[in-house]
């Protein structure tokens, strides 16, 4: 191995090189690489199946590496969704797909796969869901693709990739109270814009993210796509290893960016200045300090999704909602992202807190995030939501509005009936 060349590669390059049997790949070149996991859901899988069948392969490339999660419009929200779920269920049975997760075992895909140890450091993962970039938190190269790409990957185990350049983000300074990964990523998207990392690998590093929990790291990687990113990647450290201890046999390969890796840009971000963030309608890049938005009245709060439906998020919400009531003028919907997260929240008393506060608690589903079900907004309504997108019509009526936040602002706003920070309600 030409070690000089290796020292010049980023994590993204090294993982792609590994998966196409090469020692070095250069930024901008197109490579055909072997994938470790191909993922799809009840919305993207039906088209993927139709396209897969056109290819004419009898079987999927590896029944253990195809993951199917009916989470978007499941539990079935209407007859058409039921048909789609039935279609993918039949495909999963026909092909003896090991990792098909039926309602009851299902969780929101990007919380479920890491929880079950299905994605490991150094993996190359594609998923027919844009938030597949979430697994970058585990040091994997992981990205969203369309249904046709998923179909080809299911048939062949391979897919073409353009090797992305990398933008490095170095976070330093001490986080203020209540600040989580959501605030850092909204702030970052606000800084670089919704296409600020278009086609790029975003590499998150620095002493402040070393301190972040895995849950917060998943949140940050999850929203790389909201800056146009292809990957949103963290280096593996002690916290990653601890997370994986009970979830893997340790049989994975770790890649770090070389000391001479070339970055297209480096952003140094001092976190000690970052306040609780809210992104105002209709772009995730409209990040503002929550404190300046106290006059925004709201009709609904959603805490959940692949972005913020993990234990840390529910813990923060429960701390704020404990012995408080949500405002009479709004609905609060809380959705633990997986059954295990739901159980842990139950054991820790969070669910009881939520119900006593007047929140609705739901079985895992993507539902309201994309205006599917379980919390669709009417004309003129406003929501504060811990989800990932606030585009026009995202959560329902095209004249409704979504303000994106982390769990602390969402829970405080639920009590106040307007956008609020925890200090105002506790």
């Amino acid at each position: 191995m030409n070690s000089k060349k290796n020292k010049q590669q980023t994590m993204a390059q090294k993982i792609l090189a590994e998966h196409c049997g090469r020692e070095y790949v250069s930024v901008g070149e197109i490579v055909n690489a072997n994938v470790d996991i191909v993922l799809a859901n009840d919305i993207t899988m039906p088209i993927a199946i139709e396209e897969f069948e056109k290819i004419g392969k009898e079987e999927v490339f590896d029944r253990e590496k195809v993951v199917i999660v009916p989470d978007h419009f499941a539990p079935n929200k209407d007859i058409k969704s039921a048909q789609q779920c039935k279609f993918i269920r039949e495909f999963a049975r026909k092909h003896n797909i090991k990792n098909y997760f039926e309602v009851g075992r299902m969780g929101i895909e990007h919380a479920l796969l890491p929880e079950l140890g299905l994605v490991l450091p150094g993996n190359l993962v594609v998923g027919a869901d844009s938030h597949t970039c979430t697994y970058g938190a585990l040091g994997a190269a992981s990205t969203g693709v369309g249904s046709t790409d998923a179909a080809v990957a299911m048939a062949t185990g391979r897919l073409w990739f353009m090797v992305p350049g990398t933008i490095k983000f170095v976070y330093s300074g001490e986080l203020k109270e209540w600040i989580t990964g959501k605030d850092l990523i909204l702030y970052t998207i606000g800084l670089i814009g919704v296409d600020g990392a278009l086609y790029k690998s975003m590499e998150f590093s620095g002493p402040a993210v070393d301190e972040l929990s895995m849950d917060s790291r998943f949140t940050m990687s999850n929203m790389a796509i909201e800056a146009g990113g292809k990957f949103g990647i963290f280096g593996v450290d002690k916290k990653t290893e601890e997370f994986l201890e009970s979830r893997s046999d340790g049989n994975y390969k770790v890649f770090y960016s070389g000391p001479d890796a070339e970055y297209e840009k480096i952003y140094n971000i001092d976190c000690s200045d970052i306040e609780l963030q809210v992104s105002t309608p209709h772009l995730p890049s409209n990040a503002r300090n929550a404190k300046g938005l106290a006059d925004v009245k709201i009709d609904q709060v959603v805490i959940g999704s692949c972005t913020n439906g993990r234990v840390e998020d529910l813990k923060i919400a429960a701390e704020i909602l404990k012995n408080k009531k949500v405002n009479d003028n709004l609905r609060t919907i809380i959705i633990p992202a997986t059954q295990n997260i739901y159980l842990e929240a139950l054991r820790k008393g969070y669910i009881e807190t939520f119900i006593n506060s007047g929140c609705a608690v739901s079985t895992p589903t993507c539902g309201p995030c994309l205006g599917g079900h379980m919390g669709v907004l009417a004309e003129g309504e406003v929501a504060v939501s811990t989800t990932n997108r606030n585009f026009v019509g995202r959560m329902g009526h095209p004249e409704s509005k979504v303000y994106l936040s982390g769990p602390a602002v969402a829970a405080a706003s639920a009590i106040a009936g307007r956008i609020a920070t925890p200090g105002e309600v506790i």
Binding site: I55, S130, T148, M162, G371, V392, R394
Partner: protein
């Protein structure tokens, strides 16, 4: 192939939620998807697309979701080509994969206006704005991607390569 059509112009950051709202993702039927294409952004799209079959947009067209329903609904609406200053990467891949022609041109994306009449020659690589008498060069795509386009999409391309 020369495409002679006039333009429907949109701005920056046209996201997949306005191209095809998620509430319609409970079907894969292309004509049904087409009937809701752009309905939250442009109520007149369905009427306008009968006369004008080129979409020109600013930067980051197709940002957001990976839903292939987005380029499928545009293609099934009869749109011949989408030109944008830049595309979100998943939308761009999806369009190539399903055979919806997409052209990246920062200049054309910002210069061309609504209702302009264009002549696009995909083989010579030019966009002519006939209304404003201006010609833009199209930067050729990498050979590999051109191979997918020549096969008529990624499924055909894959089938050809498996059989070989």
């Amino acid at each position: 192939m020369i495409i002679r059509e006039s333009v429907i112009k949109y701005g920056d950051n046209i996201d997949t939620d306005v191209i095809i709202p998620a509430r319609y993702l409970n079907t894969t039927d292309e004509s049904e998807l087409a009937s809701h294409c752009f309905e939250d952004l442009d109520k007149d799209f369905k009427r306008r697309v009968k006369e004008r079959k080129i979409i020109v947009a600013g930067s980051n067209f197709g940002c957001g979701s990976s839903r292939e329903h987005a380029p499928l609904s545009i293609k099934a609406s009869g749109v011949k080509v989408v030109i944008a200053a830049s595309f979100a990467r998943i939308f761009f891949r999806n369009s190539i994969n399903i055979g919806l022609p997409v052209i990246v041109s920062e200049e054309a994306g910002s210069f061309i206006e609504d209702e302009d009449r264009l002549e696009i020659d995909l083989s010579s690589g030019t966009i002519s704005d006939v209304t404003k008498d201006r010609v833009f060069e199209i930067k050729p795509l990498p050979d590999f991607i051109q191979g997918i386009i020549k096969s008529g999409g990624y499924i055909n391309f894959t089938r050809d390569n498996i059989e070989r």
